[in-house]
Symmetry: C2
Subunit: 434 residues, 2 copies
């Protein structure tokens, strides 16, 4: 039995106009049809559940292309300081205290927050990724999870733990009815030796894995790489073979024009994180230039410790606004472009090719936004209202892989009260240390 969303306005993708007054049919995990409301149902389709759509807007679920979901535990723990101080003096020591259970509940809290903000899919990189994947599986959200096989130690050890990486991939790739995909984390160029990075690149190719990496978040990274290697992180990534695999490069705040073209030519995607880049004073990524060059730019929240939110509506709006102001070009990132970055571009970057738009045959990842609110009235333009005026809290119903995860703002797969309680308990050790 399918799901029928009745008489709703929709923005099926960023590339077309709004569809007014349509019925959307969901059969299993996929969209079966989008048709004028009241038309006869296609033969063989029977609605086991009907969701009222009047006064609402259906959009493809938002895709958070760069996140560390369990960092919800450190939300507000350290603010208003340099990235290096923040990361090495506050965040890394705190993270060293996190147990698998802590990370499970932190991820679950992040999943709860994202679903409540209309996010249907995210890209995660963190520690103890089995705990992360367990929480994702339980929540029903879609995610790419990146496990890091490179042996850590800043410029100390070299090498790759291929076995545990392969085991993780075997266990989790395709889990949850295909909701979970596995990727390889290579945290960054600056944390590892060249031989280690090259070994990681070979492993990614062997596994056919995409690589999730931080690239040039700060000016300091660029300066350090230039000083030490005579070239910057994108060119180094290419030299080590990392760009031979599909890459999701988070940040790219300090890429130059040549690097933008290399990213474009090698088919790498860039996950732009405007809130985090501003908050950590990293700067403003050259997003308009990347878009003009044809780079697949998507959007992320980064972790809640540097944002301090996992609200992709906020990132979509901020991406649309920030680059207009920074470049003094009022059409630098138009509303449709921001919407595309927050949906289809993210889905493509994460390898979920069947996600990121509402169309027959696509995966049924749909967010329903309640429009009947003062701050969304009047309704001159669905697209403008979505990008510039709507907020995460306007997401009313969220469907992932054909399954309703939130209805009327109530989470159906996550015990919100217990999750919030458990995450708070896990975070207490840090509160005590303040």
């Amino acid at each position: 039995m399918g799901i029928l969303i009745k008489n709703i306005d929709a923005l099926p993708s960023a590339d077309g106009p709004a569809a007014l007054g349509v019925d959307i049919g969901i059969d299993g995990d996929r969209v079966a049809f989008v048709q004028k409301s009241g038309s006869p149902l296609p033969p063989g389709f029977a609605a086991g559940r009907t969701i009222p759509g009047a006064g609402r807007l259906a959009i493809p679920g938002l895709v958070n292309a760069h996140c560390h979901a369990a960092m919800t535990l450190l939300r507000g723990y350290a603010d208003d300081m340099e990235l290096e101080t923040w990361l090495f003096d506050r965040i890394f020591p705190a993270e060293a205290q996190l147990s698998g259970d802590d990370i499970y509940w932190g991820t679950m809290l992040g999943a709860a927050e994202m679903i409540k903000n209309g996010v249907t899919c995210f890209n995660d990189m963190y520690l103890k990724m089995d705990s992360v994947a367990e929480a994702i599986l339980g929540s029903g959200i879609r995610a790419a999870v990146s496990v890091g096989p490179l042996l850590t130690g800043k410029r100390g050890d070299a090498g790759v733990d291929a076995d545990s990486c392969k085991a993780f991939f075997r266990k989790w790739d395709g889990a949850g009815g295909g909701n979970i995909r596995t990727n390889m984390e290579i945290h960054s160029i600056y944390l590892f030796q060249p031989e280690t990075l090259a070994a990681g690149a070979r492993l990614a190719k062997e596994l056919g894995s995409a690589i999730h990496i931080h690239i040039l978040e700060t000016a300091a990274e660029r300066e350090n790489m230039l000083r030490e290697y005579g070239k910057s992180s994108v060119l180094l990534a290419e030299e080590y073979g990392l760009l031979d695999s599909p890459v999701i490069a988070a940040h790219c705040v300090h890429v130059d024009s040549a690097e933008i073209l290399r990213l474009r030519d090698r088919g790498a995607s860039v996950a732009h994180n405007p809130s985090s880049n501003l908050k950590l004073a990293s700067g403003i990524a050259p997003v308009p230039e990347m878009l003009r060059a044809g780079v697949n730019v998507c959007l992320g929240t980064d972790g809640a410790a540097s944002n301090n939110s996992l609200d992709m509506f906020m990132e979509m709006r901020l991406a649309a606004l920030l680059h207009k102001g920074a470049s003094r070009e009022p059409a630098a990132v138009p509303a449709a472009q921001a919407f595309r970055m927050a949906t289809r571009n993210g889905a493509l970057a994460l390898g979920f090719e069947d996600c990121g738009e509402i169309a027959p045959g696509r995966k049924a990842d749909i967010t329903i936004v309640q429009l009947d609110r003062p701050h969304l009235s009047p309704l001159h333009s669905h697209l403008s209202t979505l990008v510039y005026s709507a907020r995460g809290s306007d997401a009313e119903t969220v469907i992932v892989n054909g399954k309703v995860l939130m209805e009327n703002r109530e989470l159906l797969t996550i015990d919100e009260e217990k999750t919030t309680h458990m995450a708070r308990a896990a975070a207490k050790k840090f509160i005590a240390s303040q």
Copy 2:
């Protein structure tokens, strides 16, 4: 009979720590006490109404220091274009069609949106200000309303309509139990002749009025003023006598260092509108420099046609984030500073000296934020949670001048459904023209 808010955490002002587990007493229009929860009530205080505070945060109501509330009618009507095109080709022609009734409902919609976003006070400038003031009076929100006596016509007419200005002041100044204050609008330097501006300055002095003005929103204004007069708008405003009165200067995106010092020395306040400045590609105001110089910088949303929202939580967060990223200084606008800009600084700018903090004797303008939510958990820091993670939709209860305007997100003084309906009807003429 007073109001007792029981056992709540509070951020009484931006200048001190959070007060945990306090009772807040309100007597008439003022805060009577803030004391450890459960302490004996002061003699003579009787609570006619008790509001539960556990799991919540009380803050001074947010002050929106620059708004055109009725522009809610044009929300999403024209986006992603140059300010001059937007203003002269789209907005001004649309506004010419607005009746007093339209403006009444547009303002009421704006008041509804602001109250639902935890705003207790705003600074308005628009057309047909009697209709604006009527809506404000009905809503119970606090506001400074600016009426424009300068005869319009771009560099055509000169002169001032003093009589209607005086009549407006007599009718509205102090109305609504002191909730309404009147100011003089001088739209901008660039729209009027020098003699007209000088006449306006004399009238403001005669009336003891503050002046609400747009200054240097765009680089084009700066260039035009320099070309035509050999100096820029702040120095011209001073020359014409405008800075002899208290001034609320909206935008100041393109002020130079000398002008910042003039604004500081003359006691002018600057209303910073980060979303609007970004969206219209005006640029990024030198807020850190203004703050270092000691200018009273407050925050505004501007109209909903250039934002497209009246959510001061969003502006507070964006002000805190934007200037860190733009200046690459992670403490450029710390959370406490953004909170101060959104509360006390705004109240001072608008001449509501008794507002903008929660303390005995101050006006009871209080917003209660619901903390028990995934995106506000865990609670490492009340201040960080408020500025970086909270949203307008987290405002649960709003009190203005000792009167509850919203309780559990339900508006008590505004018919939300009717207001939204009437504003939509008023906006239809523009929808049809798209």
